[in-house]
Structure formats: C-alpha cells, structure tokens
C-alpha cells in the first residue's frame, strides 16, 4: 500500500529531450544540457501548478473529465494568455513515432482541403437545452420507467442466474447486517426498508400498467401492422423495465412456437424469432434463466421438418438462417463450463446431420446452425462431411426426379455448404486451387467449391488492398429477417388473412396453455422435429431434452415463476 502510494507521488518531470525538441521548434539550436534540466524542472513544476488549478475548474464545472477549457481558465488565473486553437470536445490521442534514435509523441494533424470544408453542408444545429421531469421515486419506491436505470442491473441478473448459491436473496445480506448492527433500530424502520428494497424483486404480480404493456406489445409483435411491430420490437430491445415481464415473454415465445410449428405458420414463427432477437438485444436483460424455454423454441425453428404450408414456395430457409444466427449468438453469450450450451447444441446438430434419413430441411437447418457457430466448427464438422453431402446432393440432382421439394432442399443445402465452406477453405487450404485436387478431396462439390474459393480469395485480396490494416475477414451481408425477404407475401393483402391468425386469439392461446393447477408437462413437448425416421428423431429429441433437463434441475424456482404469472394473468 505504502509502496504504491509512494510510487504515485514520485515527482515526475519532463524529459530534457522534450526541452530540446521544443527549443529547436522555436529556433534555439543548441541548448546546454544544464539549462535543459533547469528548464524541464521549472516547466514541470509550472505545469503541475496549472493542472492543480484546472482541477478546481473541473470540480466546479461538475464534471469528471478535465477539458482544455479548464486549462485555459487556470492559465487565466495566472494572468497567462490562454492557448488558442486547442478547443476540442473529444479526446485527442497522442500518436507515437520513433526513428533515428528518437521517440516522439505528437498530434496527428491532417491537411484539410478548404474547399471541402466550404462545400460540405453545414452540420445540423444541435438541439437546444431542454428540461424533462420524471419520477425518480414515488413514496420511496423507484418506478421502473425508461428514465430510471433498470431496477435489477444486468450484472446482478447474471450473478443470480450463474451463481444461484451466492445470490441468496437480494438485500438479505444487507438487511442482516443492519439488523445485527443496529439493534436499537425500530422494527418499523426495518420493515419500511424491507418493503422498499424487496418490492421490485419479491412480487411476481405485474402492475396494471405492466399488464397493459405486455398485452399491447405481444399483440403488436404478432399482429399484422409492420410499423407497430417495429415499434414494439424496438421497445423490447431498449426498455429497461422489462425484467419483471421476462418470464411471461419467454413463455409466450415458447408456447407460440409450439403452436405455430404444428400449424406451419411461418409468419408467426418469424415474428416470434424477432422477439427473441429483441430480447437478446436489450442491454438490461440477462436471459440465462429463460434459455430452457427459448433454446428449444429457437432450435425448433432451425431444424423443424416443415415450417410452412407450402415448402416449395415459401422461403422458410431465411427463418432457419435467422434462427441459426440467434442460436449462435446465445451460445456465444451464455455458454459456460457448467451449462455447456455450445457443445450440446453442436452434438445435436451433428447427430441429425450424420443420420442418412434426415430430411433436406432439417439437414439444411443443422448445417446452418453449425456454420453459424464459427469457422472452427465448420472446419472440424462440416468440411469432412463435404464429400458425403456432395454425393447425397448428386443423387438428388442427377437421379430420377423424386419430388420437387427434395430438389429445392438439395439445392439450398448445396449453396449453403458452398457459401460457408468457401471462406474457411480459402483460409486454411494452401494455394494453388486446382479443380482436380478439389474434386479428389471434396467429391461432387469440389468443382463448385474451387470456383467459390477462388472468388473468396480474390475478394479477400481486394479488401486487403482497399482497407488498410484490417484483418482479412470476408464480411457477408447479413440480411435481417423481415417479411419482404422471407418471400412470404404477407403484405399482399389477399393472402394475409389465411396465414396470419387474429392476434388476440393467439395471445389467448399461447399465454394460457392450461390450467395453472396442472404441472408443467415435461419440456419435450416444445420440440417438433423431422419425424420421417422415427429412431433418429427420437434420438435428437433426447439430446435436446438434455438441455431442458438441465434447466429443469432448477425447476422449482421457475415453476413458481410460471405459476405465479399464470395465476396473475388469470386474475
């Protein structure tokens, strides 16, 4: 401690080289070493003095950051002309250069073309100062509104869910210490404190406003008006007060997927996936506790055999891609050594992929899901399978016309494989790219893969040229999933009513799946897999169930959640 302090206090002075450099810059050629030393000491002292005065201005300006203005004011105190031309709101980084045995720190000053400045349109006038009032607290309780910080910060949500033993009961620890320390404290006071601290946590009933909000949001999310939906999703993605409603949202999504997969309602599945995305995007929420509901729903959307009424026309592939991306994102965010999400997911996908009887749709989903998990996964799990998959595709393409659907499926799988594998191969495989070699290595897909790899290499080289000092990553445009892209013409008025359910009826269905007295059935019900080959699918189901069972191990708490929310909803 003392060591640390002493080090901090050590008087630092400017190096004499700086003095020399500055002297040279003002035209004093040779400066004696001694005078340099004297100068640097003096200058260091004066600079410190000014910095100390500038701190005063910072404190009175009620800031944490020292600005150039503060320095100017401090100079003014000393009757020194302030420095002109150093006004800057942002942080100006020093740049470092060395050469010729000298090290230099300098500001990067770019040459600016005056005509550019003149010709650029004027920046927009900044908004005027305005006043906004909100309730920070009402009778001692902080309302959960966007203007206030979230009642339960994300870090705490995280520790709650990852270390359930540590987070016994929020506030309990504190409470205990208070009670033991202050025995004289009146019980009424402690009670008041309890009320204040526990309220946002201990109840599972939503206020009337929250119930209304929930209803509005869910209806808008699955309703027919795209503008409303965008607004609702935006709200889910940004609102800090959603923590309490999270169990409801998660149930809504999982139930919604369960129902709509059976009914092959692609549009609604897409809407629900977008809700998952919005929840994930919300910076104040930590979803770990609810993954047991969300992951099965998402995985269902990736690998389900059929997601829409007319698989030959509708673009359910986009949904699979989108859901796969969501899956990858949640793997990245929530996978830990205890829950092993990523490895479990990988296993599930691989098993389905290895099965011969897997349908093209499920196969596509598995590959997409794996591919999104990153280059390493592609390299170890997909590329070795290329020749096998190639043979299978070839069988469909060249063989007798089985069904149009199979053909489309094979086609999509092929392009997906090419898309994902090309860049990985481009990175890992040494030059040159010989078609024959590729053919030998990857079989049927070899030829096409080769041309894709060549393209990928060219693109990478081009990017490396244009963008200086960036790592070689081929960024593929990631289409966001919306109705227009999904190919399902939801906007075309004629078909809408057939496909999209009346929102209110859906919410009714999904939020009240059964009577609350009924115990939640095992989570198997959520997963709807390709069922052409019975054995394979049950296997997959079993693997997926592992997830669920993991979360079910914490069941009592969650069940309590559900029951509470269901009962409150019913009321």
């Amino acid at each position: 401690m003392a060591e640390e302090r002493r080090q901090k206090l050590c008087s630092v002075i400017l190096p004499t080289e700086s003095m020399k450099a500055i002297a040279e810059s003002v035209g004093v050629g040779s400066l004696q070493e001694e005078s340099c030393l004297a100068l640097s000491e003096e200058v260091s002292y004066r600079i410190k003095e000014i910095a100390q005065d500038a701190l005063k201005f910072m404190h009175h300006g009620k800031r944490r950051k020292l600005t150039t203005g503060d320095i100017d004011h401090a100079l003014k105190l000393k009757n020194v002309e302030p420095l002109y031309g150093f006004q800057s709101q942002e942080f100006i980084p020093f740049r470092f250069a060395s050469g010729g045995g000298r090290e230099l720190h300098f500001y990067e000053e770019k040459e600016v073309d005056l005509s550019d400045i003149i010709n650029t349109p004027l920046p927009r006038v900044p908004l005027d100062v305005s006043l906004k009032a909100h309730w920070l607290s009402i009778d001692g309780v902080q309302p959960a509104i966007p203007e206030n910080p979230p009642p339960v910060p994300k870090e705490q949500q995280k520790t709650d869910s990852t270390e359930p033993l540590k987070a016994v009961k929020p506030g309990q620890e504190e409470e205990g210490s208070i009670q033991t320390k202050g025995q004289g404290a009146s019980s009424a006071e402690v009670k008041g404190k309890e009320k204040m601290r526990m309220k946002p946590r201990s109840t599972h009933e939503l206020s009337v406003e929250q119930q209304l909000y929930y209803k509005e949001i869910t209806e808008a999310c699955v309703g027919s008006c795209e503008a409303k939906r965008a607004e609702a999703l935006q709200s889910i993605a940004t609102d800090p007060g959603l923590y309490q409603m999270l169990p409801r949202f998660s149930t809504f999504i999982s139930e919604g997927v369960r129902v709509n997969v059976v009914q092959n309602n692609l549009a609604l599945l897409i809407y629900l996936m977008r809700m998952v995305k919005a929840l994930m995007d919300n910076p104040t929420l930590y979803l770990e506790k609810y993954l047991h509901e969300l992951i099965p729903a998402v995985v269902t959307c990736i690998v389900s055999k059929q997601l829409c009424l007319r698989p030959d026309v509708d673009n359910h592939w986009a949904l699979r891609d989108f859901a796969a991306r969501l899956m990858a994102q949640s793997c990245k965010t929530f996978s830990t050594t205890t829950n092993n999400i990523q490895s479990r997911i990988t296993k599930t996908f691989t098993k389905a992929l290895l099965d011969d009887k897997t349908q093209w749709t499920t196969r596509y989903g598995c590959i997409a899901g794996l591919a999104e998990l990153g280059h390493d996964v592609i390299k170890t799990l997909i590329i070795p399978r290329l020749s096998v998959e190639g043979a299978r595709i070839k069988a469909v393409m060249d063989g007798p016309v089985v069904s149009n659907i199979d053909k489309i499926g094979a086609d999509h799988v092929q392009s997906l494989l090419l898309k994902h594998c090309a860049c990985v191969v481009a990175k890992t495989r040494p030059l040159p790219d010989m078609v024959d070699q590729y053919k030998a290595d990857y079989g049927y897909l070899g030829t096409m893969l080769c041309s894709h790899v060549v393209k990928a290499r060219a693109q990478a080289a081009f990017q490396a040229q244009t963008v200086n000092r960036t790592t070689l990553t081929i960024t593929q445009p990631r289409p966001t999933l919306s109705m227009s892209q999904s190919g399902l013409s939801a906007s075309s008025g004629s078909r809408t009513p057939n496909i999209i359910k009346v929102p209110s009826s859906l919410t009714l269905m999904s939020t009240r799946p059964g009577t609350p007295t009924q115990p939640s059935p095992p989570a198997t019900k959520y997963i709807v897999m390709a069922t052409s080959a019975g054995a394979a699918s049950t296997q997959q189901v079993r693997v997926l169930n592992e997830f669920v069972s993991l979360y079910l191990s914490r069941l009592p708490r969650h069940l309590y959640h559900f029951r509470a929310c269901l009962t409150s909803d019913r009321r």
Partner: protein
C-alpha cells in the same frame, strides 16, 4: 481570520465606529441609500478594501483605486516575502490617511500590517519634518528591521505553550524569517526517524495523539530543506517518509512533491498558508509532557523549534483521544479547530415571524391563524425539543441586523406559504418523500449550477457557456414587462394592472440571460422571486431582474472566479465566495461589499445564509467550514473534519444544525450551538454537490456526482447525539458508525449527476442534473 474581529480585538472602542459607519447603508431607507454611501464612508471603503489585500499577501483583489496597480500584475507572485512595492504602497496609504486626519484608521492600518514599531520609530524620528521620508528609500531599512525583530523572536518566545493571542495573526516577520535557521540537512532524516521511533514506542493511548505531529513536522522539515536549497536531500526525505502520512493528506502531498526548488516556494499559495498559519494540534496534557520530556532529553532542538514556531498545540486535560476521534476531526489544511474558537455565542434560533393578518376564507385558515404561526412552528418545536412559543432564547434580536421591511407582496407570499405548509406531508423513515427529477437534456455546454425558487415555480440553470437560463416549472409562462412607452398607456388605476404590465408576446417557457463572460458557477433566486443572482468565472456577480429579464447590476470585487453566491432568506443581502479566498457580503443596492470575510486558506467554494440571516457559512478548498457573524464579521465557528474540498452546505430549518458535503463523499453534521461535529454519513462514492433538509428537518437529502440521491434520517442522527456539557467542553465525541442505519433510501439516476436538490413547501423533493449521454 477575519479582518473585523482583529480590529475589534485590538481596539474595542473602534468597533462602534466601524459598525456605525458600515451599517449606515443597511439602515437607510431604499431611497436615500446611495447618498448615504457617498459622503463619509468613502475613504472608509477604500481603506476597507485595501486591508485584506495586504493581509492576504496580494492574493485578494480590490476595486479601489489605491491598489489598481496590483490588478494587472500576476496576483500570486507576491509570495512569502511582501515585496518592496507592497511596503511602499502601505506607507503611501498611511500618508494619505494622515493627511486627511484619519488618525484612527492610521492606527488600525499600522497594526494590521505590523508596522507599528517601525512607523512609530519613524514618526519619532521625523516628527518635526514632513512624513515624506516614510516612502521608497526607507523600505529597505524597514524590511531589515522587520527581519531582525523576527529573528530575535524565536528565542524570546520560547515558552512551552505558545498561547499568545488566540487569533495569532500571521505577521510579516514570520514570513520573512521562516526557515532561515540552518540545521544540518543530513540530520533531518535522523531527527524524524528518532521522533518516529519514539512515538511508535510510547504507550498506545498516547501514540495516536502524538502521531498527529508527523504530518506537520514532515511538511515543515521538507520545506526547510527545500528552502535551504538541499534539493536532493529534500527529495530523499520526501521519498522516505511520505508513505507514512495519513491518506487524507494525499492531495497536499501531491502539491508538495512538485516543489523542489526555493523559487517554487515564492509563488505557491498553498505553502504560504502552511507557513503563515500555525498548524493546530490537539493533544492531551499527558501526551504533551511525554513529548516535551523526550525532546528535551534528546536535545532535539530542530524539531522543538518547528513545534514552537509553526505548530499550535492546544493542550487539554483529560483522557487522550483515540485514533478514530482524531481522524474524524483532522484532515484540514491547517490542523484542527482550537477549542476557544468555537466558544463564542451563536444565536442560531429563528427570528420571530411577523404577525400577518390572514384573510380568512375558511375554517382551516382560521385554525391556522389562531395557533399562532401554525404547523411550521409546531413541527419546529418538536425538533427543537424546548422552544418557547414567543421568542426562542437562542434567537438573535429581531433588529440585530437591519432587515428589509415586508412588502405587501411578501405578506401575500407568506400567507401562501402558510397555506401550503398545512398541506405538507409529514416525512419520516416510514414516509419517504417522492422525488421528481428534472433532467437537463442536450446540455452539451455543461450545466454548472441550478437553483429553484422557494415556491418551486421557477428554475434557473447556470451553464459553462456563460449563459443563465430561467425555466418556469409550472404551466405559467415567463413574460417580460412591457417597454416604458407601452407602460405609459396602461390605466394605472385598474385592478389588474399587474397583469396588464406584462407583455403577452414575450411569453415563453424559458428565458436566456446573457451577460457573463465565463462559466456560471452559482445561481440564487431572491426570496421574492423578483431577482436572480449569478456568479461566474469572470469575477463578477450579476443581479438579474426576473420582470424584465435583464441584468441590473454587476458586482465586481472578487476579480477571480466566484464559485458561489446565495441570497439571504430575507432578501436584500447576499453573500459570495471565490477563488480570492474571501467571502463577501453584499447588499443589492451597493456596488461594494459590506463585509469581507477573510480567513480561509484556500478558495471559498460554497456559501450559505443561516435561516435567520444573521450568519453566513462558507466552505472552502482548505477543507474547513467557517461560520461568520454578519453583524461584526467575526468568525464564530470553525469546523474541521472533511478530507476534501467542501462543495455543499445546508442548514437545518430550525437553524440549529449544519450539514456539509465534500469531494470525499461524506456528509458531516454539525451542531452550531455547541460547535461540535455530531454525525458522519458515509455512502456516497463521489463529490456531494447538493444537500437539503426537508421542510421540517426530518430528512436530509444528498445528491452526488455518483448519480444517486440518498435520503438520511436526520432526526435520528440529531437525537442520538446527546451533547452534554462535558462533550461540549472537550469537543471529543465518539461518533457512532451508523451510516447504514440512517440511510433511508438510495435512488440511482441514469447517468445524471445530481447538481441540486430542493424540497417544495409540501415536502416533495425536486432534484436536478444534466443527463450525460456518454
């Protein structure tokens, strides 16, 4: 130390003279006020202005003509030794006074500047001839004489306890002679280590007390080394022992470590203070005897000399204090408070409310009226414990300082206040206030100060871009008064004349006030809502009219940044404090200050009026709080204990207690009557910029840079503290560590530092701050 208290001490009979003259303007009716200033007190004013300048070694500034020369020169270069020019100026002023036959002033000025003997000798020498020999040429001899006198001083005053006069002023001689005696520089480390070993080996009960010696000794020894040009030795000394110092001295040590050359000492105000003011330590008699014996045995004269010259050891009889007791009181720039300083009587009670005939509309009002200054008094009675219905024995005389007469509009406002207060929510631990947060959005330029009017109808913000903005917090828009030409056309007899004079075209929700040329660090509304004060980096305080939204007066005098300003609760007076280390009391109709409160050793960072308007409290960067008597300018309370610059102050509504918040994130509570620290509220993690008691004084709200508003149970804090005579006499209070118990609520805002807090008349808490998007 205040100028006026010194005058009073030295020359009791002068007091009336000054009080009479200076107070003349206060007493005079508004119409004739300027005339009153014009005649007699003219010289007085200039003289008054001059003195603080001399005393604070050129750090203060003045608007008078006499020292206009110093304004242009770098203000802080005068340094430890007053330069020849200063002496010359002094002498010139003296001559001027003599010529004008202002003999009393001459006496005082001479005393002030410690030129007594020199001048006397001079006047004796040249009594017959003109006084022309007093200037220029003699300055050198003057200086030498001063230094001789002071060089002799240490020997002559070698009494064990240097209790000369309690306001022992920093005299010029000390400044000159400080550190002139040479010790062997290489032995400093030995001395210090010797003392350290001794203190570490004494009994536990004495160790904590004697450890207080470390810091001042360390600083003085280091400065001596630096002063005598032993740079490397000084550095080595610093390296070796700086780690031993208490952590709350970090800031000072940081300043100190930059100082390595004799030349640096000259311009450094902080060190000048350290040398001129004596560091005060409180040590029990036993511990002191122990120390004395040790030093005498070892013949450790070096340390003994420093203790004699630069420290003031306040010895008390009784148990030595514990480490925590010492820590709670130390941390200021100049040590602790001397016990005698806080012995003066302070009339902290409230003034009697004027009787107002309330026009009775309904029963409620009637009941209110009969109970005689209802509700509010009642609740106050509870909080005060014993308070007579008529006149608080602790209250000052109603006319102790002249207060403006109540106008009809004021009476109306009082009635409104009483009506509102009947609807006030009684707060308590079970009944916390609601908080409404006013966020300033898009305040790119930086919000630096906020104030609400007492009735919460207006809100003013001071910004770093020199603007002041006034908002209406109610749906009622802000309107200007019509121009003079238009006003002529109005029927002055009509009933709604007040409404007619307003220009409807100018109605808007906010108004900008332009006039300052630097960041606005303080804003304060007048109680009648007609005026707004703002203080700025440009050295001025400006008075704005809220009728015309124009600047009425610019009060110049500080010349350096003015950090804070505050209106008296009765209007008319206001106080300001700034970088020049003085607080000034002004009346709105005088362009020069009525009082200058000098004594702080660093910037005066915040200023507040006592609810009875008879006192002013100031907080400073020197980490001390001072309470000043407006009547005579005395410093009547001096509180130490903060470990960082003080940025917020608040009086409890009954006037009995004071709360202060500082950069160290702690709120300290003080009992003004007894002059004691009675509580410490820990919890904030950053500077506390806002403090406010609820209207009944039951809850203390604090707002901080850490984006939280915290509510504390102030009643409990005050009740827990029994201040009997013994504790009052010794000032040693065991502070309970009960911050957690007292904390009633904590509310986070969303990256919005809390700049201001205000309780409405119905006890709704309003908070304000600028939203910070990064």
């Amino acid at each position: 130390m205040c100028l006026w208290c010194r005058i009073r001490q030295k020359n009791p009979k002068k007091k009336t003279y000054y009080a009479a003259h200076v107070m003349t303007p206060l007493l005079s009716a508004p119409g004739e006020k300027m005339a009153a200033v014009q005649d007699a007190p003219m010289e007085l004013d200039s003289e008054k202005e001059t003195k603080p300048e001399i005393l604070s070694d050129g750090t203060s500034n003045l608007s008078g003509n006499t020292a206009s020369g110093t304004l242009s020169s770098p203000p802080l270069t005068a340094g430890g030794a007053p330069k020849q020019e200063d002496q010359q100026t002094l002498i010139a002023v003296l001559q001027f006074l003599r010529r004008n036959k202002l003999t009393e002033s001459v006496d005082i000025l001479r005393r002030e500047a410690c030129l007594e003997d020199q001048e006397d000798s001079q006047t004796l020498d040249g009594s017959g001839g003109g006084k022309g020999d007093g200037d220029g040429g003699d300055a050198n001899s003057l200086l030498s004489r001063v230094s001789i006198a002071s060089a002799a001083a240490p020997q002559s005053t070698l009494t064990p306890i240097p209790v000369k006069s309690e306001y022992d002023q920093p005299d010029v001689s000390v400044v000159l002679s400080a550190y002139s005696q040479q010790g062997d520089p290489s032995l400093y480390q030995v001395y210090y280590t010797g003392l350290k070993n001794f203190i570490e080996s004494v009994l536990d009960c004495h160790r904590a007390e004697l450890s207080q010696l470390f810091y001042p000794l360390f600083v003085h020894m280091y400065l001596e080394l630096v002063y005598n040009n032993h740079e490397t030795k000084a550095k080595a000394f610093f390296e070796k022992f700086s780690g031993d110092q208490e952590c709350y001295y970090q800031d000072d040590l940081q300043i100190l470590c930059g100082l390595t050359k004799k030349e640096h000492l000259k311009g450094n105000e902080a060190l000048l203070d350290f040398r001129t003011s004596r560091f005060v330590l409180r040590i029990s008699r036993d511990s002191y005897q122990l120390l004395k014996r040790h030093l005498q045995e070892r013949h450790n004269n070096q340390i003994w000399n420093i203790i004699q010259e630069h420290l003031y050891i306040d010895i008390f009889d009784g148990m030595p204090r514990s480490k925590s007791q010492i820590d709670s009181m130390s941390g200021s720039f100049a040590g602790e408070t001397r016990r005698e300083v806080n012995k003066a009587k302070v009339f902290y009670g409230l003034l009697k409310e004027p009787e107002i005939e309330v026009p009775l509309d309904d029963e409620d009002d009637e009941a209110e009226n009969e109970e005689g200054k209802p509700k509010k008094k009642k609740t106050k009675k509870d909080s005060m414990g014993s308070k007579s219905k008529k006149q608080d024995p602790n209250a000052p005389q109603q006319n102790r300082i002249p207060l403006p007469e109540l106008k009809d509009s004021d009476k109306l406002d009082k009635i409104m206040y009483m009506k509102e207060s009947t609807k006030r929510i009684r707060l308590g631990p079970e009944n916390l206030p609601s908080i409404c947060f006013y966020s300033f959005l898009n305040a790119y330029q930086g919000l630096t100060a906020v104030d609400f009017t007492d009735d919460s109808s207006l809100l003013a913000g001071g910004f770093a871009d020199s603007t002041v903005r006034v908002w209406s917090a109610t749906p009622k828009k802000l309107r200007k008064v019509k121009s003079a030409a238009e006003l002529n056309l109005i029927d002055k007899e009509s009933d709604d004349v007040l409404e007619r004079i307003m220009d409807e075209k100018t109605a808007s929700e906010s108004k900008n006030l332009y006039g300052h040329s630097g960041p606005v660090y303080g804003v304060s509304f007048s109680p009648d809502r007609n005026y707004l004060l703002s203080s700025s980096e440009d050295g001025t305080v400006r008075l704005w009219s809220l009728q015309t939204f124009t600047c009425l007066v610019g009060y110049k005098g500080h010349n350096y940044p003015v950090w804070d300003t505050h209106f008296s609760p009765f209007g008319y007076y206001f106080v300001s404090g700034g970088h020049d280390r003085v607080a000034r009391l002004w009346a709105t109709d005088h362009y020069q200050p009525l009082r200058i409160f000098a004594g702080h050793l660093a910037d005066v960072t915040c200023t507040r009026f006592h609810p009875n308007s008879n006192y002013v409290v100031t907080g400073s960067t020197d980490r001390t709080i001072r309470l000043w008597d407006v009547l005579n300018g005395n410093c009547v309370r001096f509180f130490t204990g903060h470990k960082g610059p003080i940025h917020s102050l608040a009086f409890s509504p009954n006037g009995k207690f004071l709360a202060s918040g500082s950069t160290d994130g702690r709120v300290l509570l003080w009992d003004i009557g007894h002059g004691l620290m009675i509580g410490e509220l820990k919890g904030h993690t950053d500077t506390i910029y806002a403090l406010k008691f609820s209207r009944d004084g039951e809850i203390l709200a604090s707002g901080s840079m850490d984006n939280t508003v915290r509510l504390w149970d102030s009643m409990k804090a005050f009740d827990d503290m029994e201040t009997d005579d013994f504790t009052a006499a010794t000032g040693h209070i065991p502070l309970p560590d009960n911050s957690q118990e007292l904390l009633l609520g904590m509310y986070h805002s969303k990256s919005t530092p809390v700049t201001h807090l205000h309780f409405t008349r119905r006890n709704l808490l309003l908070a304000a701050g600028a939203y910070n998007s990064q």
